[in-house]
Amino acid sequence: MTKKQSIIRRGPLEYSKIKWLKYFSVVFFIVLYAPIINLIIFSFNDSRLNIVWRGFTIKYYVKALQNETLILSFINSLSIAFISTMISTLIGLSAAICLWKFNFRLKTYYDLSLLVPIIIPEICMGVAMLIFFNSVHWPVFTIWPLNLSEIIIAHISFSFPFVVIIIRARLGNLNKSLIEASKDLGATEWITFRYVIFPFIKPALIASSLLTFILSLDDFIITFFTSGPNNITLPVKIYSMVRFGVSPEINAASTILIMIVIISTVLIIKFLNYEKDLK
């Protein structure tokens, strides 16, 4: 009995001491990222069929950039992402501040209702949007950016709750005595918001708008249901290209999309960690 007790047992959180776990994580990461790395590598492959490595080239990037409909869909994607980010950040910020500052009836239910666009299956959301726009006889616009209005509205509806959640989490950390100190020093509500509250939530605001941007940029399902033949986005375009066979051109287009998303994600992490510098 005493011998057994004298053996020092490994704690459940001492991962670094478990050898097989190290190998496991290496394998895990390879499996996780291999398809993406493969996609990127083969975007430089000098072969039409994209099965065997035939040498390095960037001609498919050139080709992709010369593909007018691809470029148009890319511009569409960026416009949609940009406009929907602007609007959903504004709505999200207002909602977050409202929920943080005021107490009102049924607030908990309102809180929960914000989660609905996040948890609802995207396909249902897409179908719902399609039916909605049909039933209200949403007009077909030809001028930019109104021709994208359906997609933009759909994107705002699923992305603004993310803004609310991120900004509220940040506001939850705001020391209320900072606001009191500001008022105590003579500041009005507006000055307090402008110079105390806003600088505090700015990193969360930037991070959430970047998140909204990439959510909008890479959304496929909801966009697929709300886009018409003349206003497709990059993910929808890639999908339609895949139906005629996977060419390195698709790899190139996908790689560009991945790069935009990765850069945005790095920026999000940077801004979300911003508070560490200030505390």
């Binding site: 005595s177 100190a181 008022k183 105590d184 020093l185 105390v196 600088p199 200030l278």
Partner: protein, 373 residues
């Protein structure tokens, strides 16, 4: 006493019948209080007694249900905090984390619409005062607790308010730094000539820096007096017990001939002057340091001696905190200075010791009838 009377001509803060509830619990219960110009006023009480609420009511961060607050003869009862001529030093310092020390201090001045040159000189002046000019371009996160404290103080001073409110400002500092800051606070108050109102639960802090102390309990002010008055002759049993240690002498008041006598279990009859109308509303007590420990019984007039046995020693180098059991089984707290190197050794040899105190050192305290405990 006359000093206080003179000051009463110029109360800086006048509080009348102030009441504030939080839900069902009462935080401030019908408080009326005058705080004079240029005094260092301390509000002392256990946690949850409503002292911070009282301070926040003065600052306007809470609004009372009933009652009035006058600051420098102007009614600010329902004014928002940004128009009141008071500035607060928060317990958490509440420095704006995204602003440098300079920006933090400029904040209030910019709102006042002062020109850049005045702001610059004011900031430098006030930082000089709190000895923080070397840190002017640092962010709060780069400062230590004591430095943050100084900046918070500077930020409050710079607006030149009628009153500075301090909400337990030193509670987060370590003991040495706290002592240092207490002295600085007191010096600063004297040199500025601004009324300081300090909220604290630390009795030593209140005693050492305040010119007057209000003791609060359960939303009420129990007693307002100068530090020595409140320590040596407290008028209320709560403040007697809260500030310092006290030995309450069990017993009752009896009338023998025409004088009142306090008949105690341990010390026999003690002659005391009491309020003749209601003698039973008083109790007597003695502070532990007023009792001296001797090897022999004292025979001096007015001295009272009792035999006892030391049952607990707490050695603190310069002082011993003793608990002594008297022959009648009551425990007395005794603080004994180690006046000679051999004080302890000599005393430890003795099986019994004599406790002696002077009748003049006894405190006659009103029993608090409203006290629940």
């Amino acid at each position: 006493m006359r000093d206080v009377e003179n000051k009463s001509l110029s109360p800086c803060i006048r509080i009348r019948n102030l009441t504030k509830h939080f839900g069902n619990s009462i935080a401030v219960k019908n408080i009326s209080l005058d705080i004079y110009k240029n005094e260092f006023f301390a509000i002392l009480g256990p946690s949850g007694c409503g002292k911070t609420t009282l301070l926040r009511l003065i600052a306007g961060l809470e609004i009372q249900e009933t009652g009035e607050i006058y600051i420098s003869d102007t009614d600010y009862s329902s004014s928002p905090p940004n128009v009141r001529p008071v500035n607060m030093v928060f317990q958490s310092y509440a420095l704006f984390p995204h602003m440098t020390v300079r920006k933090n201090i400029e904040f209030g001045l910019k709102i006042d619409g002062l020109n850049k040159k005045t702001i610059k000189t004011k900031v430098l002046d006030v930082l000089n005062m709190v000895k923080m000019n070397d840190h002017i371009d640092k962010y709060p996160s780069q400062l230590s607790g004591g430095e943050k404290q100084r900046v918070a103080l500077a930020r409050a001073i710079t607006k030149n308010p009628d009153v500075i409110l301090l909400d337990e400002p030193l509670s987060a500092l370590d003991a040495n730094l706290r002592r240092e800051m207490q002295i600085e606070l007191s010096n600063l108050q004297k040199s500025l000539g601004i009324t300081f109102v300090l909220v604290t639960h630390d009795q030593d802090e209140a005693l050492s820096i305040a010119s007057r102390i209000a003791v609060m309990n359960e939303g009420e002010i129990v007693e307002v007096s100068s530090p020595d008055e409140i320590y040596e002759s407290p008028k209320d049993i709560f403040s007697a017990k809260f500030i310092g240690k006290i030995n309450i002498l069990e017993g009752e008041i009896k009338k023998i001939d025409d004088t009142f006598v306090y008949e105690t279990i341990d010390f026999g009859h003690i002659n005391i002057p009491t309020n003749k109308n209601n003698p039973n509303s008083f109790t007597i007590g003695i502070r532990p340091e007023k009792i001296s420990v001797r090897k022999t019984c004292s025979s001096k007039q007015d001295d009272i001696s009792v035999k006892g046995e030391i049952i607990e020693w707490n050695y603190y180098g310069n002082i011993n905190y003793l608990i002594v059991k008297t022959s009648n089984n009551s425990d007395l707290y005794v603080h004994m200075q180690n006046k000679t190197k051999s004080s302890i050794k000599d005393l430890k040899k003795e099986p019994f010791i004599w406790l002696t105190f002077n009748v003049k050192d006894l405190m006659i305290i009103k029993k608090n009838t409203t006290q629940r405990t």
